[in-house]
């Protein structure tokens, strides 16, 4: 949707085909809503900064409430390992112009009084990050894209991609064939499937994370709280208080649960609840309302794969967002637009270099 919006805004003729019934019904609505620039790689930092700018000014610009709040992000540390990781990152992050600092335990608890003091070493706080409603923002992007002239075809399944002398030619769907000189694969968890239609094997496969939402209570928590320490069954978890007063939370299972299965399991709630109430005892009486599971299209190194294909001309990849499609998407849409129009900026080149489909996938993002 962000790419459709950006490209239509630039005057391109855009058609979006989606197999689901309406906008944002795939993984977008399973996102919990955090948007941050405080990543570890320059590419993601650039995308995050622009996404933040778009999201935080969305309501003022377009009049659509997306329940945005600049509440910041806080990565907390209870072990020397996390403290070291977070402190090491600060340098890169600050060098990229990010507002982020280390707070010792006492200072952090001044910012987030509900954090349990036990074992807390401290944490980072980045006041410029924030959160909003993935459903509202996703829908807002869709509405603006339509206003700019983009066309959307829902309940439309891509059945094949036509190429002609290593050049993309058309998209075949169950509702007809659409010719286009440029085709963007933004199929999220299903990106590899689409890639195979042009004979490419994209190293993208989904794993699933479970999220949940509570009843609403009066505001008491500003930032997204992220705990990257591993626990039994989980690599990390995070939560924030949404503008509605509800706490939205998510866990990263460890080991990863690979595949397309988004059916809820009985494991998630007890696991995440124990970690959350231990970190923040105030949450113990807060009632969980609903839970769901969403897909993270993962890549081998934990960073997105973005850019044109060397093999098939006109085939663009915006895939493997590793669960960060919601937070990186708005910035990424604009980069793709400029890529198509041959109007890349210097920052865009940093982004495309970092996320290049031809990079070596040996490394690992320190902060996924």
């Amino acid at each position: 949707m962000p790419a459709a919006w950006a490209m239509a805004r630039s005057g391109l003729r855009v058609l979006v085909v989606d197999k689901l019934a309406s906008a944002g019904q795939g993984s977008n609505k399973a996102a919990i809503g955090g948007i941050r620039a405080t990543h570890s790689e320059p590419a993601k930092i650039h995308l995050g900064l622009r996404s933040l700018e778009i999201a935080s000014t969305w309501e003022a610009t377009y009049g659509q409430p997306i329940e945005w709040e600049t509440g910041g992000y806080s990565f907390v540390a209870h072990h020397a390992r996390e403290e070291a990781i977070l402190k090491n990152l600060l340098e890169t992050q600050k060098a990229s112009g990010l507002r982020i600092d280390w707070y010792d335990a006492e200072a952090l608890r001044e910012r987030i009084p509900s954090l349990a003091p036990e074992g807390l070493l401290g944490g980072t706080f980045s006041p410029g990050d924030g959160h909003c409603s993935p459903m509202r923002f996703g829908h807002g992007l869709y509405v603006q894209a339509v206003k700019e002239g983009a066309e959307f075809l829902f309940r439309t399944e891509v059945t094949g991609l036509e190429t002609d002398s290593a050049r993309i030619r058309a998209v075949q769907t169950n509702r007809g064939r659409f010719e286009a000189p440029i085709v963007v694969n933004a199929a999220g968890a299903w990106a590899a499937e689409v890639g195979r239609m042009v004979g490419l094997e994209h190293p993208v496969r989904p794993d699933s994370h479970e999220g949940g939402v509570t009843e609403p209570v009066a505001h008491f928590l500003d930032p997204m709280v992220v705990d990257i320490s591993p626990g039994p069954g989980s690599a990390n978890y995070y939560f924030f208080q949404h503008a509605t007063g509800q706490i939205i939370f998510c866990i990263t299972p460890s080991p990863s649960i690979w595949g397309f299965d988004t059916r809820e399991t009985s494991q998630f709630l007890p696991m995440v609840a124990k970690r959350m109430v231990t970190l923040m005892p105030r949450l113990q009486q807060l009632r969980v309302r609903r839970t769901w599971r969403g897909l993270y299209p993962m890549t081998p190194d934990g960073s997105p794969i973005v850019g044109p294909s060397k093999e098939v001309e006109g085939y663009l990849m915006a895939i493997g967002l590793c669960g960060q499609g919601f937070m990186l998407g708005p910035g990424l849409g604009e980069v793709l637009d400029r890529l198509v129009r041959d109007a890349l900026t210097d920052d865009d080149r940093i982004v495309l270099e970092g996320l290049s489909p031809t990079r070596s996938f040996g490394g690992h993002a320190a902060l996924k």
Binding site: Q25, E264, S266, L269, P281, Q284, Q285, L286, R290
Partner: protein, 753 residues
């Protein structure tokens, strides 16, 4: 609003009440009573304000499913309908988002237990209990869970006698007593464990059912799941539909019949199915005026005996009418109704407004099917019984549970005994809708010389037609034959084919007959055929669940008959020597007659027999006695007009029909997209109320069902605290937050001061 201190069927609690406060004012509660009932008993039915728009909030489901009855209890937000009152509790209305108590310490968390069982039954109502009994017959390991504090499901609320087969499903017995009997039978089964206060939260894809048991979270892994989860009431969209005082029959019966709270003074009922009709009767028994009942169809859909009973008590029944609005500022003050045409459109000029404090919505039931659906989605073995499978009477649910229990035992190879063929037949009969109405001409009384007119089977069916021919009563005298010219005989005001037969079992002379092959037939009086005479024992009068049999006896006086009428308003409502208003089967007044006797016999199970003296030309037409004064049903002089398009569809998030209609008309066809834009379905109830209403808006807008993408279902069934899910012990030992149990006397002192 107050407590019910006298009830013809139920026994009010004799326990001492204790004080607590609402907004600083002392109110009193009974031990174990939910806050909502204590508040109602004290006259409070507006519990708070919706955080979104400040609209008044009160009881809606009374079942823990929504969050409209949220209050602050000692600073903690709780659902009033699910939270037992405690001495000294300080209750405050919730007017904005509650503040989460700032607990700094965490009780020790534990591992969540996973329990393996052979069969897990969700729901301890008629279907679940019967299934448990059948499974126990085959020695199966059963865990039965129920979210309430007692077994019986909705039987707990059913103070009336049940229809059905006397052999199969305890017909003629009151629902409350059937519930107790089934529960007691289950408690004697060594292989059945029962957990009360245990709510199923979700069926997960790993085959585990999450259960909230008291304040602990438990995971259960059943080999077989049986969803006997019953039904939920359909909601209705009209202006004012979320005002405190508008709620379903289930909530009403919970307040009135379970907690003996006089929840209303003046009740108006929307819906003429059995649920609405019975609720009206229950209201009258609780001393609540029933101002009227509207039914959209030209005829009430419920059993005619229920309808007739209500009509002859004096309740106006308006068919081909609908509710236009509930009116009031902080709570219901009146209701506006109007006649509707064949297209269900209100007829201009027929609007009338009635003063009332409660509008009861009884427009049908939907199965509680989310567990079955989730299990099917995840490939978890599941059966469904009772209303969760198909909406029908509780008697059908009893049998449905029994059959499903046997089917499970067969499936799991714990028995080889097939389901008897007559079980299925009985179920089909019990589930059947009311059949045709028989035109029984009311008899006129002649003397024995003209005995042909003594039998009253003015029916088209050929059954027993010979009974009428020459079975001359005088020709075969019995020892009980009266010496005078007078005689006794029952009159059946039962004119509609429904599955019911208790009357056939009690006649000592064997004079009442229903073909056993199909108990849906109406009873025949076969004195002539049998060659015996009615001895006037009145057993048939007191057993009839529909209160549809009277006994006319002219043995003492051939001109003035003694008419015995069943009466379920206690033995002190009418006294000998008083005048009683006698009504015919349609609710029309026949006249005012002397009460000769009022008999309350224990064997009649709280049905009092009232004998009035009536002239013989009217005696057999008397079907009942009016209990409600005609003025109760008078409309207000002025019609209150509803506001347009402000009716709420999603009551949790307060989304109006207008908002959703506009989105549908703009082309939206995915309910998930409507949810994205409006938040409808994202509230506490999770779409339990609004999804059927949204489906109806689509239909109204001319969108076919197949074009609509449904809301994606998500667990949990009800909201559960994170601490509970974490396995933290229920009561945090946080001394600074712990409430000091207040000395009750000091509260009393405050009120006196």
């Amino acid at each position: 609003m107050a407590r019910i201190n006298e009830h013809p069927i139920l026994t009010p609690s004799s326990e001492a009440t204790f004080p607590l406060t609402f907004q600083g004012q002392v109110i009193r509660a009974l031990p174990g009573e939910m806050l909502s009932s204590a508040l109602f008993a004290a006259g409070f039915r507006t519990f708070g304000k919706h955080p979104k728009d400040g609209s008044p909030q009160g009881i809606f489901c009374a079942n823990g499913q929504c969050s409209q009855c949220m209050v602050l209890a000692d600073g903690i937000p709780v659902k009033a309908c699910m939270t037992p009152a405690q001495p000294g509790m300080r209750i405050e209305p919730l007017t904005e988002l509650p503040s989460l108590p700032d607990r700094q310490t965490l009780p020790p968390t534990g591992e969540i237990e996973t329990l393996e069982v052979e069969v897990l039954i969700i729901g301890g109502g008629p279907a679940g209990l019967s299934a448990a009994l059948e499974l126990a017959e085959h020695g199966m390991d059963v865990l039965l869970i129920d979210d309430k504090d007692r077994l019986g499901g909705k039987l707990v609320l059913q103070t009336h006698r049940f229809f059905g087969s006397i052999n199969a499903v305890h017909a003629g017995t009151r629902g409350i007593d059937i519930g107790v009997r089934l529960a007691s039978d289950v408690s004697e089964k060594p292989t059945v464990r029962t957990w009360l206060n245990s709510t199923a939260l979700a069926v997960f894809s790993d085959g585990i059912v999450g259960v909230l048991r008291d304040d602990a979270y438990v995971r259960i892994r059943p080999q077989m799941l049986l969803a006997a989860t019953g039904a939920r009431e359909k909601a209705l969209v009209f202006p004012g539909n979320t005002l405190p005082g508008v709620y379903g029959a289930g909530a009403f019966q919970t307040l009135v019949n379970r907690d003996l709270v006089k929840a209303a003074d003046r009740l108006f009922i929307v819906g003429g199915g059995n649920v609405g009709l019975i609720a009206g009767y229950h209201a009258l028994q609780a001393g609540i005026d029933v101002v009227g009942l509207v039914e959209a169809l030209p005829q009430c859909g419920g059993y005619k005996v229920h309808r007739d009973k209500l009509a002859r008590m004096g309740v106006p029944i308006y068919t081909s009418h609908t509710v236009l609005s509930a009116n009031g500022a902080e709570a219901v003050e009146s209701v506006t109704i109007s006649q509707i045409d064949e297209g269900f459109r209100p007829v201009e000029g027929t609007e009338r407004t009635y003063a009332c404090d409660t509008v009861l919505i009884a427009v049908g039931l939907d199965p509680v099917d989310e567990f079955t659906e989730a299990a099917n989605r995840f490939g978890v073995p599941v059966y469904t019984a009772g209303d969760a499978d198909e909406i029908a009477e509780a008697s059908a649910a009893i049998f449905s549970g029994k059959i499903t229990g046997r089917q499970i035992a067969l499936d799991m190879k714990r028995t080889s005994a097939p389901i008897p063929e007559d079980w299925a037949r009985t179920t089909a009969i019990l589930k059947s809708h009311p059949g045709k109405t028989i035109d029984r001409t009311a008899p006129t009384i002649q003397t024995t010389e003209d005995s042909a007119n003594r039998t009253f089977r003015e029916r088209e069916t050929p059954r027993n037609d010979n009974a009428r021919s020459d079975g001359e009563l005088g020709a075969s005298p019995t020892p009980d034959e009266p010496s005078s010219n007078g005689f006794a005989f029952p009159v059946f005001h039962c004119t509609q084919e429904i599955p019911c037969n208790p009357c056939t079992s009690v006649c000592p002379q064997g004079l009442i007959h229903i073909d056993e092959a199909d108990i849906r037939n109406v009873p025949d009086y076969i004195a002539d055929q049998v060659g015996k005479a009615c001895i006037g024992c009145t057993k048939c009068v007191s057993i009839c669940p529909g209160l549809a049999i009277t006994l006319v006896d002219t043995r003492e006086n051939v001109e003035m008959a003694n008419v015995t009428i069943p009466f379920e308003f206690g033995d002190s409502a009418l006294e000998p020597g008083q005048m009683a208003l006698a009504m015919d089967v349609n609710g029309d007044l026949l006249g005012e007659f002397w009460v000769a006797r009022v008999t309350a016999m224990p064997s009649n199970d709280r049905t009092v027999l009232v004998v009035v003296e009536a002239p013989r030309d009217k005696a057999a037409r008397i079907a009942g006695l009016r209990v409600q004064e005609p003025w109760v049903g008078e409309p207000l002089p002025d019609v209150v007009r509803p506001l347009e398009d402000e009716d709420i569809v999603c009551r949790c998030e307060r989304i109006t029909a207008g908002e959703i209609r506009a989105l549908i008309q703009s082309g939206m066809r995915d309910i998930n997209e409507i949810k994205t834009v409006t938040r409808t379905g994202m509230g506490a109830c999770g779409g339990k109320t609004c999804q059927t209403l949204i489906a109806r808006l689509f239909r109204e807008c001319g969108v076919p069902e197949e074009a609509v993408t449904k809301n994606v279902p998500r667990p949990l069934f009800v909201e559960v605290a994170l601490g509970t899910l974490a396995g933290a012990s229920a009561n945090p030992q946080d001394s600074d937050e712990n409430v000091n149990p207040t000395d009750p006397h000091s509260l009393d002192g405050k009120v006196q001061a």
